[in-house]
């Protein structure tokens, strides 16, 4: 009598009543699992280097082609609450690690599948949830054990990790080009003590034209905008003195509502003359400080420049770029070493930035404004991203972003592990060994968790057109024989030592995928009802 049996088989009326109640919670639990797994099935096929892409038509009729899990999920407008939680899960992985957004959802789906089977056997969901959390802590431990620490000076290794991430994207054939870009971009921002990198200091400028091969890391700054040439102004300026201004060179417009009352045509003349004089005055003031490149912040209230001011500025040989967004100001002032100027009277020498050359060039039919040889540049990086169409360009940017995140992960946690499904099989094997030392329901849950981890290698194999069962069993076998780094070599379609193939990923991507997916699965398992609220 000391060991109580599982749910109410007793004949007390209270116990029976609560047993009936549970049929409802069972239903909603299964509904949650089904919905969440549907989401994970959507992205399943885009996992790995041979993963497929998805075409998404958004509500605004824009077309997105991507195999980035976070992007797909962000755009599919999930309705079911549990499905929404999976969307959030992938977003969280995006924030934490930036890569592995597909794996995290696939893994969570597989864990839910395992949980479903155990629920059918009559196990209590909280027990499953708790054991899963314990298993994930153990898994992270194993992952950390098998990782190899790296040094940030080791460019080769960093590049290898970036390449692995890029290989699963559309831009995979350009990975040899993009990986070094990603590595240099991040390492340039590093200080000896930094443990994190703000990716906002890396600007990716997208220009349609040319091919992805034209993508480059620019020494200096690239602008999103083009030079305004309609007034006949210069397009190239050596020894540039740059002013970043936040006021406008057009007819005055106070904040108060106003009307200019014109009674006869002489007065009209006067109005026009005064406007010219007003603008000329401003342009002269700007020139007085020796400024010859003008970057103008966009204003919603008022034109940044008009024909008159453009004309004057052209005469004064000032290069003009307009429509600088407000959120770009921070980046530009940091990278050009200048300070924004909000009023024509508050010009001063220290607010201007200096550069050897500001030039608008045409490269593969796209005109690009580059600012080169900046004096006292801040720690920022500009990457010029080129591509044949918007769709390609966007995907290229996303892939580059993922690669940047991979490098950043290595800055945060300086360790690498093998890719190609090797860590998952390794952890799965160790976990199931560990499960044998446990007893009770926990042992069962650990075993199920270990099996669920195999979804990563088997999906990798499946997507590459290999036989998942053959591959996974061979992997298991090789691992049991002590080859801890045996993984799926997707290019050759066989199992081999994955480290020799230089397929590596940051430890943080794997650990955070395991932790986040388990956390979400536990939360979903503990739900027994969906209520409509106000």
């Amino acid at each position: 009598m000391s060991k109580p049996s599982a749910p109410a088989k007793s004949n007390a009326s209270g116990a029976n009543a609560s047993f009936d109640d549970k049929s409802k919670s069972k239903d909603s639990r299964y509904a949650n699992i089904v919905a969440a797994r549907a989401i994970s099935d959507v992205v399943r096929t885009s996992l790995g280097p041979k993963g497929m892409d998805k075409m998404i038509i958004t509500a605004k009729n824009e077309v997105i082609i991507t195999n980035d899990g976070a992007t797909i999920l962000r755009n599919i407008q999930a309705f079911h609450p549990a499905a929404k939680m999976f969307v959030d899960l992938s977003a969280a992985q995006d924030i934490e690690a930036g890569d592995g957004t597909t794996s995290v959802v696939v893994l969570a789906g597989s864990l839910l599948g395992a949980a479903e089977k155990m629920l059918e056997k009559g196990m209590h969901p909280t027990i499953i949830a708790e054991s899963f959390l314990k298993a994930s802590a153990k898994a992270v431990e194993y992952l950390t054990e098998m990782s190899t620490p790296i040094k940030l000076q080791d460019r080769k290794t960093l590049e290898r990790a970036a390449t692995t991430s890029l290989n699963s994207k559309i831009v995979s054939q350009f990975s040899t080009l993009l990986a070094p870009i990603a590595v240099s971009a991040v390492t340039r921002l590093l200080t000896p003590t930094s443990t994190n990198v703000d990716l906002r200091d890396i600007r990716i400028v997208k220009k349609v034209g040319g091919t992805i091969e034209d993508t480059e890391l620019v020494e200096g700054v690239v602008l999103n905008q083009n030079v305004v040439t309609s007034g006949g102004g210069p397009r190239r300026m050596e020894k540039a003195k740059i002013a970043l201004i936040q006021f406008q060179l057009s007819a005055p417009k106070p904040d108060m509502d106003n009307t200019v009352v014109v009674n006869d045509y002489r007065q009209m003349d006067k109005v026009i003359k005064e406007e010219r004089a007003y603008i000329l005055e401003m342009c002269k003031k700007i020139k007085k400080w020796g400024c010859n490149v003008l970057l103008i912040q966009k204003s919603i209230l008022r034109d940044a420049v008009n024909e008159i001011s453009l004309h004057f500025l052209a005469k004064l040989k000032i290069l003009v770029v307009k429509d600088i967004e407000r959120d770009e100001i921070n980046f530009l002032s940091k990278s050009l070493g200048c300070k924004p100027i909000a009023d024509v009277d508050s010009f001063s020498e220290d607010k201007l930035g200096y550069a050897d050359l500001v030039e608008e060039t045409t490269k593969a039919e796209a005109s690009i404004v580059k600012i080169m040889g900046v004096k006292n540049p801040g720690k920022t990086v500009s990457v010029l991203c080129m591509g044949g169409s918007h769709v390609v360009l966007e995907e290229c940017e996303r892939s580059l972003h993922d690669a940047l995140c991979v490098v950043r992960c290595l800055v945060k946690k300086r360790a690498l592990i093998a890719g190609g499904g090797a860590p998952e099989i390794h952890v799965s094997r160790l976990l199931s060994q560990y499960a044998h030392t446990l007893k009770g329901m926990e042992a069962y849950c650990f075993q199920a968790y270990a099996d669920a981890l195999e979804v990563i290698p088997s999906t990798l194999a499946e997507n590459a057109g290999l036989n998942p069962i053959a591959i996974v069993t061979e992997l298991r076998n090789r691992h049991a024989l002590g080859e801890h780094n045996a993984g799926i070599n997707v290019r050759k379609g066989l199992v081999s030592n994955i480290l020799e193939e230089e397929v590596v990923q940051p430890l943080l991507v794997s650990t955070s995928a395991v932790e986040l997916s388990t956390e979400t699965v536990s939360l979903i398992l503990k739900i027994d009802e969906i209520l409509w609220s106000r």
């Binding site: 009598m1 109640d21 200019v260 002032s333 909000a342 939360l523």
Partner: protein, 523 residues
Amino acid sequence: MEPIFSAEGSQEKAEMARLTSFVGAMAVGDLVKSTLGPKGMNKILQSASGDGINVTNDGATILKSIHLDNAAAKILVNISKVQDDEVGDGTTSVCVLASELLREAEKLVMAKIHPQTIVEGFRIASAAALKALENAAVDNGSDPAKFRNDLLNIARTTLSSKVLSQDKDYFANLAVDAVLRLQGSTDLEHIQIIKKAGGKLTDSYLDEGFILDKTIAVNSPKRIQNAKILIANTSMDTDKIKVFGARIKVDSTGKLAELERAERDKMKAKVAAIASHGINCFVNRQLVYNYPENLLAEQGIMSIEHADFEGVERLSLVTGGEIASTFDRPDLVKLGHCDLIEEIMIGEDKLIKFSGVAAGQACTVVLRGSTNQMIDEAERSLHDALSVLSQTVRETRIVLGGGCAEMLMSCAVEEEARKVAGKRALAVEAFARALRQIPTILADNAGYDSSDLVTRLRAAHYDGKADFGLDMNNATIESMHKLGVTESYKLKRQVIVSASEAAEMILRVDTILRAAPRKREAH
């Protein structure tokens, strides 16, 4: 006959009224009962209007958000709200206990016992229960080391029934540290909780000082030591004349330019007035536009714009500064102070940290987690723990949890029932049964054999092992003292008091009158 009530009003009498109340109250009890205890389940609250979802097992949150159209059910929702305000936790328990009391009362009413007799019995019972609870309470308030341990145990017990259960030790420490910083105040405003998706739950941390989820303006100094802060709520564009449709007529562009210049000068004067306070940090609730931002930066003043109502209010609370909106008399404005203002990075976002603030007890908890639902729920759990702890710092007595206190009270009530003569005794017994339902539900939720466990627990209590309760991890009974499952005395007391009051109130109802809904005129 003329109708007495207007067409859409209605009346339910005696039997029917009572039935409606019982059914409503029990439905609410059954709704939240599965969330009780360490193995309780969560519920998804799906908003009917928007697409927001909430995952929670906090009784008050669930009850607050659902639609109810039953008077008795609404009373239960109210007591759970009161519990939330008073103690912050035990919101589910109070609701479940009240509904169990009513379930028992229904049986007695069926057995033709007058509701007033039941009420009388319930009163005797609750008095006996409270007395037993008080006798069992332990006070370690005078011994700081022991008391801290008590607090840790309470936090752990509270958190074990929430989403944070896996990391309860971590968060219990965090919550205790946060509450002890308050030095006896129950003003949880001093503890700010910032939620950032990404990372895992144990990446959450407690930070001294105050964190504002805003960015420092371009160009401002990014780090200030010995900050003197002016907190303001003022519009930093030109002060417009607040007369509707005010406009100016001019006859030339030159005048317009002059006007523009005048506006700028006015702004400049305002900035000068602000700077004359001798500050090096300016925080505004509203936008600070480019021009003033530039001017302030020139004087080495950090400007932070758009800090929100909540932001400025908390900031004024923790830094001791007043929120100013006129700047003519610098000598009258109280400035805020802190040792250091700097930018920090959490996840991908940059935030501003004010450390060494004037109000030394202030601190910030940064919560991380995989999904927004997770973090929201973590926040609710932590808030519960914090409020229980802050109450315990005031009322230092503690009792044992895990169904132990309930069983203890149930036994005491049964004891009392033997001494009561008349039909009232039946009601007293019923009260004891209702109390025993709490451990029963705890066991049921965990999937254990409740009938077996609860009877064993009762036997243990009659055997003199008054500290025994349910060991929810090993499906057995164990000394709660040994396991460190403790709860606040005030919480338990409040649960009994509110639940029996609510049950009594509902029992006394014999007619439900429903007023005709107010007509909305169609436009």
